[in-house]
Amino acid sequence: MSAILLRGGRVIDPTSGANDFADVLLENGVIREVNYTTRSGELDAFAADMGAEVLDCTGCIVAPGIIDAHVHLREPGQTHKETIATGTQSAVAGGVTTVVAMPNTTPVTDSVALLQFVQSVQRDPSARVLAMPAATVGSMGGELTDYAALAEAGAIGFTDDGKPVLADEVMKHALIAAAKLALPISQHAEDTRMTVGASMNFGPVAFRLGLRGMPIEAESSIVERDIRLLEEIERETKLRPHLHVQHVSTGKALAAIRDAKSRGLHVTCEVAPHHIAFTDEAIAGDAAQRSRRYDTHFKMNPPLRSRAEVDACIAAVLDGTVDIIATDHAPHAHHEKNVEFERAPNGITGLETSLGASLRILHREHGMGLVDVLALMTSAPAEKLHLPRLGYDVGRIQTGAFADVMVFDVAAEWTYDVRTTRSKSRNTPFDGAPMLGKVKFTLVHGEVKYRA
């Protein structure tokens, strides 16, 4: 295995708070040395001895690779949309070194064999692929999958993403079973009984367009229910279940999460870049959001919300209620999206625009510290998903940690052009959108997997 010297960059390591110039030497897939120095070059001789490749990082930030807790890779079964190979190529192009694969594949990833298939090196992944298999058999919401066996095979949590675990009793059992393994249940919070036939956010825009809307309560009521279940379980057992709420999009759900956290319950949550980048006005055709009327590239679930909800999401990121940023990367083929709005599948791609959109919105437009934004995408997902405990020393730039690193030019302002994508699909609302911060190198396990 080769050695690489990342020379002349500024290292940001959110875990330690380090934010200074340093040379970083990688060897055999781990970080061998981080040399904070005012004058680059102290590791040069050492690196030369080892025959290390030198990557010039002058003017760039060297940070832990992004860990995306919510990614659809579509394999097995829907390889016309994406494969594990193309999805992870898209990931590294966006600085993402670890993805957490969702189980709504065909068939649903609900067995050890399927989990092993997803994690297999034969799928030629460019990034680390971790997985959350289904919480219930076939994600049908009934019988729990075999949590112990799946955990043994590498599951880092359980989810029926794409749909909720709706029945109270089933969700309670899921939380208990996962708690026994100290793993989270990751919930797609949507009371589907309140969203039948709905294809966007409920409100004036939906009325104007003649589309049925999803009320915000469809999300918040499930979050509130799940929090009640956590309390019940803590009261009745010695267990401390971990609820992770996926792609939160409403102020009401975030208020419930904020409150639960203040009462000491183990709840974490994620927000997706598109939910802080766009509003439901985009679906009416909005030049400012570069959308056309009934533009299916703006159709996802949860849907784009009103300005007030978007502002509540941003506020919750800024005040720390939101733990992590995750994309919900959900590729769909052109012919699948090129249909009537109500018939189009939900979901958009996001791996290549996560960093650029998050930095632009949170850092540039809302003054959030660079270290804090990066923490939401790197160290926080590692910590909140318990990855070090599970054997993945990712999300930090420190001696001994996995050499999963991204190098990016933080000052680069650019425009995303979907024609350059490495994903198999092009269903993004960010085509033509302004981005801040451009990835130059992405290294996974000490190997360069992406070069701009």
Binding site: G203, P204, L211, H335, N338, V339, E340, E342
Partner: protein, 323 residues
């Protein structure tokens, strides 16, 4: 001749939303309507002689379909109907593919009715052809708004040279199932642009407060009689019994609150113009005396529909410049 690319932007002759046509554009369209109506048949049929128009109806509608079809034939065009009742709409074929197929078969304009809101946008983008929206989901019915406008201008004695004050001081009360009505949406977008006040009237279930946002100059009044007293036009919408069944209202209650009947009309709006896009459910949203009385313009609406649709087809196939 090369076919327009699948990504071509919408054809300027399309009418997918009432937003797509300016006041000047409507003024020209109404003038064209007058000219076409005045022409003798043998002259009229020359305009679109040999042109091909496809009617793509995923949702049945005798009235709108016949109106468009006769309008096309009146101008000499050939028409073909593709409906969900015929076997022509291949099972599971996408709207994109159906549109492209119709184009390849020589269709030069497609009239689309769909139960999906926004479907005309998909078809217009896919084919690059002029697409006329004959009603999409719960969204819009722009040709209906134009025929309603011509009816109102005629009966209220207003100028067809439209300006933002053409209908200043006039109040149009639209009553009934606003929630599901594309007629209500198209009219509520168009009429305020001419200075009219639009009052939506109906119970909350059928007339939600989100409707207010559709346009400036739109208000909601729950009390039908209070609304009627302000009305220059009382536009009634069809109530589908099956919709009432799912909601928190019953027919008797609806009739008591919102039916336009002879007594109400005489007591509260003895001069208002009575309109209805049809088909009517007599005895539910409107009684026969109101529907057939001297204040009613319902039959004229149908005639205006045919006339306005001739002009829309002329605009779609011969261009704005020639229109």
């Amino acid at each position: 001749m090369s076919l327009p690319s699948a990504n071509a932007t919408s054809h300027p002759g399309s009418l997918t939303s009432i937003h797509d046509i300016s006041l000047d554009g409507i003024t020209r369209l109404l003038a064209l309507t007058d000219r076409l109506v005045a022409e003798p048949h043998r002259e009229r049929v020359k305009h679109l002689d040999g042109r091909k128009v496809a009617l793509l109806f995923y949702e049945s509608s005798t009235r709108t379909r016949t109106s468009f079809e006769l309008a096309a034939k009146s101008l000499g065009a050939m028409t073909t109907l593709v409906s969900d009742k015929s076997s022509s709409i291949e099972k599971g074929e996408s709207l994109h593919d159906t549109g492209v197929t119709l184009r390849a078969l020589g269709a030069e304009c497609i009239i689309l009715r769909s139960n999906y809101s926004g479907a005309p946008e998909v078809l217009a983008r896919s084919t690059g052809l002029p697409v006329l929206n004959a009603g999409d989901g719960m969204h819009e019915h722009p040709s209906q708004a134009l025929l309603d406008l011509r009816t109102m201008l005629t009966r209220l004695g207003l100028s067809q040279q439209l300006t933002p004050t053409t209908m200043a001081g006039k109040t149009v009360v639209i009553t009934g199932d606003i929630r599901h009505s594309r007629v209500a949406r198209s009219n509520a977008i168009l009429l305020p642009k001419l200075g009219a006040r639009v009052i939506f009237c109906g119970p909350t279930e059928l007339c939600p407060k989100e409707a207010l946002d559709i346009s400036h100059g739109v208000e909601i009044e729950r009390d039908f009689e209070k609304a009627l007293r302000q009305a220059d036009v009382a536009m009634m919408l069809r109530i589908q019994r099956e919709r009432l069944a799912g909601l928190d209202i019953d027919s008797a209650e609806y009739i008591a609150g919102y039916q336009l009947n002879e007594q109400r009309l005489r007591a509260h709006a003895p001069k208002a113009l009575v309109m209805h896009p049809g088909p009517m459910v007599r005895g539910l949203e409107i009684d026969s005396a109101a529907a057939d009385g001297p204040q009613s313009a319902i039959e004229e609406q149908v005639a205006h529909g045919l006339a306005v649709r001739m002009a829309l087809l002329h605009r779609a196939l011969l261009g704005e410049a020639n229109a």
